[in-house]
Amino acid sequence: MLLCSGRVREPGCHGVVLEAHLGMTIAEKILSAKSGKTSVSPGEIVEAFPDLVMSHTATWRSASVMQRIGATKLYDPNRLAIVLDHISPAKTEKYAADQQTSRNFARNNGVTKFYDVDAGIAHLVLMEAGHVLPGDLIVGTDSHCTIYGSLGALGTGIGYTEVTSVWITGKLWLKVPESIRFILEGRFPAGVYSKDLMLHLIGKLGADGCNYKSVEFYGGAVPDLSISERMTMTNLAMEMGVKCAFFPPDEKTAEYLKGRLEDPSRYRPVLADADVNYEQDIRVDISQLEPMVACPHEVENTKPVGEVTGTHIDQVFLGSCANAKYEDLVVAAGILKGRHIHPGVRMIVTPGSKKIMLEAMNSGVLQTLMESGALVTNPGCGACAGDGGTLADGEVCLSTANRNFIGRMGSNKSQIYLSSPATLAASAIEGVIADPREYVK
């Protein structure tokens, strides 16, 4: 049975219960509910009404489009969420003016889901605040909106003009994607994490291996994966080109959202039907995986850590929406406790959100990181988005972020490698890329 959880009545969505329809994936069920249809098929284009429109530092751009075209009325201010996460706090007058525009826009339009520069990375902030529910359709000015699928929501990125359009009209066209099913079996060996699994998959399938597709994760390994690990995976799935990625909501999802929801009755998991025809099944025995590293300058350029150990590094960055959650900081601190980073390396830690930072402060994790030689910054996107931690010509950074594109962190003659927080911590100690399994036996 499919439930429609829209807050206002939209075409075809007048009751709460739509006809049950066999053989639909999670993406198909969400897109049909949000477009007021009883069923949809891959390739079909629907006009869908998102539950939430996220805009981050790009908000001023959407606001300027609204002003330019002379629009004044929002479809529903309660569906907007604004988080100032990139380049925060402002580092130049231009950024300050843009953030002022965003702040004023939120205030003048009654946007209550507004989070200023202290809050952290939009994706993590919105999930922590209970604004992301299973079955929701969420669009936003960020490609990594796919992360909302960690809680069973359909999240996908759009540009700032299209955000303006959804602000005004409440809807957008979306093509119903084909779906791919990943079946994960086994348990991660010590020193191997969800980041390694995703780097493995991106390396195997390529940067467009799942272009336009929806992916769903199943298998015996899934119940044991924490919400934090699921966030890393649905976030990194973007680097295979996905439109959206899902973990079907389960007990862990319910537990994570407990106490976070304004209206707990809106918790209505949307699951795929049993008789779905997936375009492809991809099986992975995660107990066979090794720590993986993505080498410059593409995420698909992955290698087992053993092939790059000894590579010189100048900086490590523990941050980003991929891997700066509390669990990630705990993993790094567990390796760094009682040790010091290599004198040739600088370590930047940017907690994903204020809540994460507070938790890490209270538990002593921040102290461990700082005593080991790390610089801890304010929460936000930080160096991943080019804010601080800029790389000079010839410098090499090992980062827990999701992108290592040329020049992303500074000079186009610098290099970025990507890894798990554990590989990062081990490498910070040794001053070269190192195998974390030596530290977590």
Binding site: A58, D208, G241, E300, G386, R403, F405, I406, G407
Partner: protein, 164 residues
């Protein structure tokens, strides 16, 4: 937007990401000219100026992958580029190009055939690309998408919807 677009081709390979097209540090701009000045500069070696003598970009698989930044499409237009043909596009770039009024066409066949500096003509209405005496077909765009392109992008389209 003209229905027929012709000119000289510059050719890229696969996976040209939107950080390459326009680095994050320039997202403080939204106007074509200023973005165009920095388009592709991460590639060094005379970029972006060397692109100014070309009219159409042709690329391999997954053009525009990575960040959802709309300015990737704006920056390409800032260089005076009139269209992009690729073997395939990343989905956010595809949407952003339409919404920014930049015509885009998928044609792996043309990508395989064309060389840098070649002249091609794209007929959007007929769904054909003409190159070296040969024709390459591509699926015609839905009417709604053509309408957005004709008006120069989604902002202009929205404006027409607002008028009584």
């Amino acid at each position: 937007m003209e229905s027929s677009i012709e000119g000289r081709v510059y050719k890229f390979g696969d996976n040209i990401n939107s950080d390459i097209i326009i680095p994050g540090r320039y997202l403080i701009y939204i106007d074509r000219e200023r973005l165009g000045q920095h388009a592709f500069e991460m590639l060094g070696e005379g970029f972006p100026d060397k692109l100014r003598g070309f009219d159409i970009l042709v690329a391999g698989r997954n053009f525009g992958c990575g960040s959802a930044r709309e300015q990737a499409a704006t920056a390409i237009q800032g260089l005076g580029i009139k269209a992009v043909v690729a073997a395939s596009f990343a989905r956010t770039f595809y949407r952003n190009a339409i919404n920014d009024g930049l015509p885009i066409v998928e044609s792996p066949e043309l990508y395989a055939a064309v060389q840098e500096g070649d002249e091609i003509r794209i007929d959007l209405e007929a769904g054909k690309i003409h190159h070296a005496g040969k024709e390459y077909s591509f699926p015609k765009m839905p009417e709604s998408v053509r309408k957005i392109l004709e008006l120069g992008g989604l902002a202009n389209y929205l404006k027409t919807q607002l008028q009584p």
